[in-house]
Subunit: 373 residues, 4 copies
């Protein structure tokens, strides 16, 4: 058995942090050395997440209190809010140049630098390093990016598409949950030139854990259960991320229509995607393109014609199911994608990327079958 790598999870009191812990706790080659949560500092993880009892973890710390030297971390998972994430990661990766404004971080930069031995790898689950263009970032997030160089360096962590880059990366930006599902369905079809670039419509539905653990009225049980609604119509920040990757695959700038909905379930994300076929293409061609793309993949599966993906078929797993169907309207097709937003849509894909970065088998600690019912 090789020596275990030493991992930190920053922002461990949110749902993605909890999922990282849950999955990594059984990883044969990983030891969790550090977990942080500023507002819960000093508490054992089991008071924050009782389901994570008995895993032998250290107590939660505030990031500012971490004594980085001596930790000898190999990998840091950053499950912090956007904007915060970029500052912390900049500090960690010793990028203390212009534009770095957080004094606390500047002062600590030497600590970080010592801690990381020049070789720590960072896997970021926030939105901070997903967009390559800092102007696009500013337009959608309303503030200037604080780590522009890292933004350029970061590798977009859609595991099935950037495997080689991920393997060599120092900083991986894990995709948003909605982009993960949309891109896995659409990228092969654009690369293979099977569908038209305009008029793509992504109608997305997500469970409530996608909204995190923040205490807002809108996410109370009484406000969510027994009902549903769309939100962020034409304004959701995952739109530019989807378009960045689709444009890259298509070789030209693309826009898509994207509407997310909140559904009364804890986990799960379903996207129903409406496309038009290029002249001469059939739904069978689309299916073939998808099968070609994924027949060797562990986690992405194209379902049979008579099967329809459901979120409950992937709940609690890193699986992604894709179906493709002919529409009644000639020349149109419908794609259906299902993932667990907290796993393939977030923490699971982050671990998949870690496995790639450290040369482990890609499915390690991600093999559990879905939990149903």
């Amino acid at each position: 058995m090789p020596k275990k790598i030493r991992a930190a999870i920053l922002g461990a009191s949110g749902y993605t942090g909890a999922e990282l812990i849950r999955l990594l706790a059984r990883h044969p080659h990983v030891e969790i050395i550090l977990i942080t949560a500023d507002r819960k500092a000093g508490q054992p993880i089991e008071t924050v997440f009782p389901h994570l009892t008995g895993l032998g973890l250290p107590d939660l710390m505030a990031i500012a209190d971490v004594e980085w030297p001596g930790l000898e971390l190999d990998v840091i998972f950053c499950a912090l809010p956007h904007a915060t994430s970029q500052k912390i990661i900049k500090g960690i990766l010793h990028e203390t140049g212009h534009g770095f404004i957080d004094e606390m971080i500047i002062e600590r930069a030497e600590d970080y630098a010592n801690a990381i031995k020049g070789s720590v790898k960072v896997i970021d689950l926030s939105a901070d390093f997903r967009l390559r263009d800092s102007e696009v970032y500013t337009r959608w997030y309303g503030e200037y990016h604080q780590a522009v160089e890292l933004q350029k360096e970061a590798v977009y962590g859609l595991s099935e598409y950037y495997r080689d880059d991920i393997a060599k990366a120092r900083l991986v930006a894990c995709p948003g949950c909605y982009p993960t599902a949309a891109l896995l369905a659409l990228l092969p079809l654009l690369k293979d030139n099977k569908i038209n670039r305009d008029g793509i419509i992504i109608d997305a539905k997500s469970g409530v854990s996608g909204a995190g653990r923040a205490t807002t009225e809108a996410n109370l049980f009484t406000e969510v259960s027994e009902g549903m609604h769309p939100y962020a119509i034409a304004t959701h920040r995952h739109s530019p991320e989807i378009e960045q990757e689709l444009s890259c695959a298509a070789g030209e700038d693309m826009m898509v229509t994207f509407t997310p909905h909140l559904v009364p379930m804890n986990r799960g994300e379903l996207e129903t995607i409406y496309v038009s076929l290029r002249a001469g293409e059939t739904v069978a061609d689309l299916r073939a393109s998808l099968n070609d793309a994924y027949h060797d993949e562990t986690f992405v599966h194209v379902v049979a014609e008579n099967v329809v993906p459901a979120t409950r078929h992937v709940r609690g797993s890193n699986q992604c199911l894709i179906g493709v169907y002919a529409d009644r309207v000639p020349g149109r097709a419908i794609l259906v994608v299902a993932i667990d937003n907290l796993i393939k849509g977030s923490s699971g894909q982050a671990i998949q990327n870690m496995n790639i970065m450290f040369g482990f088998r890609e499915s390690l600690s991600l093999e559990q079958a879905p939990l149903f019912p």
Copy 2:
């Protein structure tokens, strides 16, 4: 107080039957004389629906055991399965000509005829009389229509659009739940020539009561909760119904893309509809068109720009909320419609039609505000 009209509900053991009872029980001008349910015949309604206790209703009967003469019914609500519905209604309306194959019904036709005094009105909640074209019916329902003449006579019961015809009708075919929502959003825009006829996409989400009370594995709590999925992709029988009415409004044949999804909630239906604007039109024009259509309506409301319809805002009521929003993609707009599938999508609209047919105030017994949370 005028004399109450005498009402029968055929098929009272399903959810739409229960809603008819619940709502009619408080109607000041209606007396429920007869409720039927073949498999529950002889039982009081409270053993079938304990929430309907204490309403002073007669016990459930089998349709075949009804002694029609003497009932002196004024209105019959028919909440039976499709195919059954057409046979029963044909018998009731004394249409015993060719193609009428159910011997039981033929034999009973005289009874029916006596019962109805030549003036009974029938409000059908099934799909049997929604399609005007019997060939279309046969294509989608896989069997010949048994009451072709009545199919032609029946008025499509979308209350806000066929009010005058409904007022004079002997037989009203209440719209399906999905068509109700789709048509209320789209009809004004097509009539006013605001949107293009092609490329309309209706992504629909429904609560589980839409599937009725039949005991299928797919509708078990454990199979539905904590998950969602689309169903009947490109094959749902509400498609031709939507297209019939849209084509009528547009003045030309139209096809739409329609995908329903099952959502883990009891009630509620949400449709997210993607349209493209005709040249020169803006989203403000669409909003104006909708406002023009509905500003005098009791039950259909166009929400403000900064409001998004949610099913929980209409739960338990006959309300329909419509929102219209600009997409980021130029020339495209997004409509959102919310109804309670069992009320405006079914039993409530049926009662609204009854009120129209008998000259009552249209909102009688339908005025209760939504139940939230």
Copy 3:
């Protein structure tokens, strides 16, 4: 039609406030003149509760901004937090003597006094006036009561038991949701001396709306759905309220075991109550005692032996269902009670009390059958 009474609802942005509005909006003899919500002051009710759109209500005000003179209120519903409630009500009822500490209220006392014309009636939904003994109040609520005289004057608003006193009361304290269910089941049995006073165990289960609309992590959808747990074991503040009324009925001091549980549903409260029979008594005797108590009641029903109350049978209604069953253990019986916590457990009973106080038919605006499914 008699002149409508003029009503105010203080604290209209919570769920009990919303239910008061929903139900009163259809009351033939009530006009809602004033609705307050300090944190939402200036907003129309439909931005706070979109399901309450179109009811013609005034905008929300802050209590401090109310111009009481001229309102000519007949009744004030007070749906405020405990402790706040007693201060406001003391001001309203012009009790400005010793112990009244809120300067704002003192200053406004004259306004209140003018407003109320010496005759306004107050219906309080908080816990402030339920306990008659101010020492008990202090022990359980951790602070001194600010309106001790009113505490003595207030009538406990369990409609079926204090009808005569309620009719004459100036101030009615509506029971808590848990006490309402427990007392309706137990009071007849204690009064008729059918069960032993010791060893009574009340295992209570409530929907999440009982926790109100406050944004706490514990009430997030993700923290509540797909799970359940007890809370406030042996420490819930409804215990002394239950014991006060049981002791009163029994003629001696009683204690009960009471454990509430949080269940993933919006509404509904179920109590399973374990009792031992007095020597010589049978379950049939218990049933007879309950039937005697309630056979003339509109809202409390003893179900048949082969029927089990479920919360969904009363959802959205003011009904209370009670079942009583023999245990296998000799000499023991099990009671089951179901109510809608927001209606019979709160706002519905408040309106029932208002109807009693003003001589209206007791069921006015409370007659809607339960909403199922």
Copy 4:
């Protein structure tokens, strides 16, 4: 790596069967050779349970079609309905004597005998072999037991209590879900003589998966969600099973009050247990007794005083959490137990027993942390 044992799962189309597959599929020492489901015979498991796709399992067979010779099974999990289970197991274990009435089984007995090599071990998840007294079985199940000798031989599979016997057993009868939770809480207290034997009340709440996958109206989403109710009051078949084991621990015949409730969640079981302390005992003594019993256990944990077990803390895991609290009523205590009914309450405990029977580490394939949210 030792040779894998060869396992069969009879009745693989129910939820307990699915859980056996899900968990065993990752067991390092088990190979699933055979899965049966009479009504789904010939289908791959992924058409019955899409979440179990890609596990490399054989297609489902009908039991009657199994060619037992050559299977060389080491262990058979029997997840069949009661009554059926006893006949099949009797055939498998070659007990073809008097009272064995199923001709099909008699004829196949030789096949079974060959298949099992005299050494196959059977783990039964039905109720058939839990009760040691065949008269008690007949009284509660309404029919004579068909395998009385096996009933005597079977070991009650409450892993933590019958470990030594399980290790040597040929036939293990896994406890019901309700008894598992009740016994884990109560057995130490009775063995240590901390609580009185009479007046114990078990108020149990279960998720819907406890009712299996049978298509009954009562288990439809629309009939279960947004509500709750008790069922089988004083008549549930788990009562004699609980009493058998409690009586055994107490050394005298005991009866308990037991009331199960159905809660709108997929998984999870919570029991709130009311006990009275023996003279001189305190809640601290109860806690000490429980801690003594379980401090070395992998799956049973006594929570701290300020923690309350919730079903969501054990969802998807084999964990059992027990809390004990002082009541306000002197001399009384309240126990709270939480398990996942499908895992520790069924399939997980079955695998735990298999691990014991075959000398594997007891937690193998059961170590996954709970899934939350």
